[in-house]
Symmetry: C2
Subunit: 400 residues, 2 copies
């Protein structure tokens, strides 16, 4: 019997704890597994020796708790060739604590960690099975149909855009409302704003993804065109990462620093466009940045997303127990209607450090998306997880 | 038999349609009332003669629909002495359509309209009963314990602050997160952020209301003090309307225009403080502006608020039928525990154009609130209205 270690990494989502609950639930069933440990703040918890025993957590509550119960990190491991000591430290920690299985729940950068650790283990014949369980609201991981966490974020975005639309309609005057949505390089979540459309509402009328170059001139033309067609309350979904043909971010004036992965810290594409509309068109304009709320809204969960996040956590443990290592768990879509997926695993070398972006053929005129993309997105926000509330009127979450 | 006319005015809330549903529901029961009309875009709908017959609306759906079903306006009526024609126009409209009852659902500015119309009717012996039904997320109306719409906004604010707190805790580094909340002059909604606190979480650690002068120097001292006490992830709730001792808004650099009531249009107190923290302290800092989402989040409703909003709409009709006019419906709190209220009515002259602000004795040190204020707030977010969802995964709303 060996022990299992699990950790979470990257940006929070509303579903990453459901995957953790799935890992714990399945690990408890397995006779091959003795203790179930969680490292705090991702891989950092190994260096700091900060670990928890997880067997007694309330998994039902953990499943509906947003953000990362074990904390997260943004640490990227060095190249093995350049700094072997780091890897020796990690694997002596594994040996000392009899860790036979390491499950890392995270996004693109976390899969890079899974890749390096499993490469090192293979090279040195170390018997630790290392499996990546994906999560990211950005939905930008390769080889998987979609990522856990995306569906709940998409449901939040679509719901909020539909509510902002109702809010914008109350006054009898022309207005432009710009909703800025997360996703630096991938427009999946921005595209999910289109799910707010129904037989009564065409909003958002315009959608701008980071996959295509953004032109301020064309944007103003697009807005004027909507007014000319008789739309008086225009709702616009924009990605935080829209950029011009030279790759310069529209919000660049407001970009400030860079995080430890060298990603520029963005803010303000919506605000820039709000000011542009005021200046060029002169109508009422407002921008709403959904900000971190779109990734941590535990009170509004996609049932499909949470069920799948739990399942893929369970399947990660199954994969490790069956002897797999250096793999990322993935969803393969079997059909759209009825919506059916299979959980499989894929070689981590093809999954890490590859960003899956919205295909050009799913983008129309640089300002809208196709019905094929809506067909892809729709099932992911389906169903709502019934939330437990505390006596004090707030959702009940599991606190560490 | 006379007809009843109802309209909505001022900023949207998640509960104003519940009051409309209450008005319609009660009016349908009354033998004194024939037709039930709704004017579109508040008092503007009378001038434009844009009215709807409302008897056949799905009231259950209307009750959970955010924003204003009938649309809204920000029109302020002129002084009677200065422009009698406006009043003659309105009352000939009433006469032409046999309107015996006019219910105006709105905030402070709307109660000014109720006041002027009822004064005119009394002066000219016109038999139209005019009743105000309050609504505002700002909770700043006089003579009523609280206002419909506030409880749902408060529940949204508290829930979102609790989720943003979980989001902020994931990284093992010092951070400051500033949440900017609506309320230009009244800090009730900002104070509701304190409802996010529980036995596990002390966030928000700092709360700044517009009722007290704000000092940037003291603010930086407050933040440093929290770090010194060992709080690594500081959550701060600030009102959009915080201002210095001269009354200059903290966001003033970013204030742009004024609306038709002469209110400055605000944005950016949170962003200003975020930059201040980065500059003066140098730690990770983020600001989140809850923006219109806090007033239109139909997917997260306080059951208490929605039930009371419906009830006060019903009682408005009862008051009009019983012969009252020139009154605003109000809540009187009978007790905190068990929470009990009475619905009464109060002379509109004491209610219109008075802003009820958070009493100084409920504010501590300029950066926190008392437990008395929490006791006042807590029952208002109690219970959650079960929301109907559409097949497509979004909340089901009633569309006009």
């Amino acid at each position: 019997m060996k022990n299992l270690l699990v950790a979470q990494s990257g940006g929070p989502t509303a579903a990453i704890n459901a995957s953790l609950a799935g890992v714990i639930s399945k690990a408890k069933e397995k006779k091959e597994i003795d203790k179930i440990y969680g490292a705090l703040n991702g891989i950092e918890g190994i260096f700091n020796e900060r670990i928890l025993e997880l067997s007694n957590l309330d998994l039902k509550l953990l499943k509906q708790t947003p953000s990362a119960y074990l904390g997260s990190c943004r640490k990227k491991l060095p190249d093995i060739a350049k700094d072997e000591q780091t890897y020796q430290d990690i694997f002596s920690y594994f040996a000392k604590h009899n860790i036979g299985y390491f499950i890392y729940i995270g996004g693109n950068d976390s899969m890079d960690t899974v890749c390096k650790l499993s490469d090192y283990a293979t090279e040195h014949h170390l018997d630790v099975k290392i499996i990546g369980v994906p999560k990211t609201i950005d939905n930008d991981l390769a080889n998987t149909d979609h990522t856990p966490g995306f569906g709940s974020a998409a449901k939040y975005v679509a719901t909020t855009v539909s509510e902002i639309t109702e809010d914008s309609l109350v006054y009898d005057l022309k207005s432009v409302t710009i909703v800025e949505i997360m996703g630096r390089h991938a427009g999946w979540l921005t595209a999910a704003a289109a799910l707010a459309r129904n037989e009564h509402r065409a909003a958002p009328q315009l959608i701008y993804l980071p996959e295509v170059d953004f032109s301020k001139e064309q944007f103003i033309k697009d807005v004027k065109d909507q007014f000319q067609r008789g739309v008086n309350h225009i709702i616009i979904a924009v990605s935080e990462g829209i950029h011009d043909e030279n790759g310069t971010l529209i919000c660049e004036g407001e970009a400030s620093a860079a995080d430890s992965f060298g990603h520029a810290m963005l803010s303000g594409a919506g605000k820039v466009l709000e000011n542009l509309v005021k200046k060029e068109i002169g109508c009422k304009a407002r921008s709403v940045e959904l900000n971190v709320c779109q990734r941590c809204a535990g009170h509004l969960l996609s049932e499909t997303d949470i069920a799948e996040a739990f399942l893929i956590g369970e399947m990660g443990v199954e994969a490790a127990i069956s002897g797999k290592t250096g793999e990322m768990m993935v969803f393969t879509r079997v059909s759209d209607a009825p919506y059916t997926i299979r959980v499989e695993s894929a070689d981590i070398h093809g999954s890490a450090n590859v960003e899956k972006r919205v295909p050009k053929e799913w983008i129309i005129n640089g300002n809208d998306i196709t019905s094929d993309l809506i067909t892809y997105l729709r099932p992911l926000i389906s169903g709502q997880t019934p939330i437990l509330f505390r006596q004090d009127g707030l959702p009940e979450y599991l606190y560490r």
